[in-house]
Symmetry: C2
Subunit: 256 residues, 2 copies
DNA sequence: CGGCGCTTTGACCGTAATCAAGACTAGTGG
DNA sequence: CCACTAGTCTTGATTACGGTCAAAGCGCCG
């Protein structure tokens, strides 16, 4: 256990730039600087922003953004998975998006959001005041563009999922969910057709809320996929996909 | 008939600005200048853009953007309704968005889209080359911001609809669809609780593809809503909603 | 051990899909 | 003008997929 943690720390160090003395310390090992919105910022801008950032850790199920409440901060997700949910007055719930590190979290240009955000797993975030980011956007078109790209990515993903919700069978939905997790949980994964082993970031109830199903149906379809040899289930949360290709064919889509 | 058309023309004229001699002629009566992306442009910029614009009319069912094909132009929708669809290899289809005038149509910053766009009704558009708009975005942060706002609006709508697709019953889905059309088809509508009469821009098969249902179920739920007195059906396409409030309660949401 | 949260499995039921027929509308041509 | 056709929509009978209700298994922690 301690050994594997040490190994990960070493990998982080290797990701540091050769010459980065002008990068703020708190930003040096941050993935958001490479693939997130902070990639648009100059060392100087990073320094300005980093003076106002606060890093938080929150446990699974913590509420991060409440629906219809004013938002004061934006965040970058450093680790963990965040679920975006919508709730009906009678309690029915739908997860409308999952966000992984190093995604940007928040609804730009609006005082409050119509969705709420909740930690699906333990989550680490880097937060900063809304006003500071909005000031920086005014001065850096590059940053505005990055934020726009993030919005467009979320829009594409939302529409992909609308097809899943509206037109796929329960079996295809569960396969699509596993495929989504398998290809998003580990940013370093390559799409070659080896076995993939990962931990599900959602419990059954969340999976059901994401797929528009009940927990019983999710459970039944998982055992069906297991019996069909498409997945192996080590424990409730630990899943192995021997062949991504076979899983994809269970999703009933070519381009996904 | 001729009378009502004349009345509408008069309304358009009144919408013109008092001093607009420097606004290009083709843009003067255009709604996109008031509520669409062109609202971000100065008279000079409008002039530049209008030199490259082409206005088109296309009949219902015309394909406007093919999935996975390179896109050369963006468009503003001047009139009519456009449906954005996704298709599965086996023919199952899902409409993932509807766009009304004066919405912007196109996927910024990407060579091709994963969805296709089709005219739901007869449609009029104002198109311009991708490259021209992208050049203008570089010089006008205001325009980039408008485009971002449009993307965010589509994202909010997509997520609203995910809740409908994943968690609502057939009856609630059809009611939600009628509510969406009633509140979007006529930009000049006010939400006061009078009777609203409108023409459905989609045929039953399209409504089914939008709601993740079959045409038979859509038809049955429409007659059920009619028998419940929530709607009146004059003809296949012509619907009256006596009380928007009653329709909303049939959608099972408070905030929509 | 006992209690609690999560998951699985089984039996039964209900909603929406499927299959099938018929009504209505609009367009075409005799 | 009407017959004919094709497309669209409605209605009915039956089926099946996924939901509901219920019970039991499992892992975890006090």
């Amino acid at each position: 256990m301690a050994k594997s943690e040490q190994r990960r720390a070493t990998a982080d160090v290797q990701r540091l730039d050769i010459h980065n003395s002008d990068i703020p310390v708190v930003c040096r090992a941050c993935e958001a600087r490479h693939r997130g919105v902070c990639g648009a910022l100059s060392p100087d801008e990073l320094k300005t922003l980093s003076r106002t950032t606060v890093k938080h850790k929150m446990p699974a199920d913590a509420e991060m953004i409440a629906s219809d409440e004013p938002i004061e901060t934006y965040s970058n997700i450093m680790a963990g998975v965040v679920k975006l949910t919508k709730l009906m007055p009678d309690g029915r719930q739908q997860i409308v998006g999952l966000q992984f590190a190093p995604d940007f979290l928040g609804r730009p240009f609006r005082a409050s959001s119509t969705i709420s955000a909740e930690a699906a797993t333990d989550v680490a975030v880097c937060s900063f005041p809304k006003t500071v980011l909005e000031e920086m956007v005014k001065r850096s078109p590059e940053l505005g563009h990055k934020l726009h790209e993030q919005s467009l990515k979320e829009l594409d993903e939302a529409r992909d999922w609308m097809l899943t919700l509206g037109r796929k069978t329960a079996a295809e939905k569960v396969a699509s969910f596993l495929h989504l997790i398998a290809t998003h949980i580990d940013p370093e994964i390559d799409p070659s057709d080896g076995a993939i082993r990962f931990e599900l970031p959602l419990k059954r109830a969340d999976i059901a809320d994401f797929l528009g199903l009940t927990i019983e149906t999710v459970s039944r379809q998982l055992t069906k996929l297991r019996k069909a040899g498409i997945i192996e289930i080590e424990s409730n949360r630990l899943v192995t996909v021997p062949s991504l290709r076979r899983l994809e064919s269970a999703c009933a889509v070519d381009s996904d």
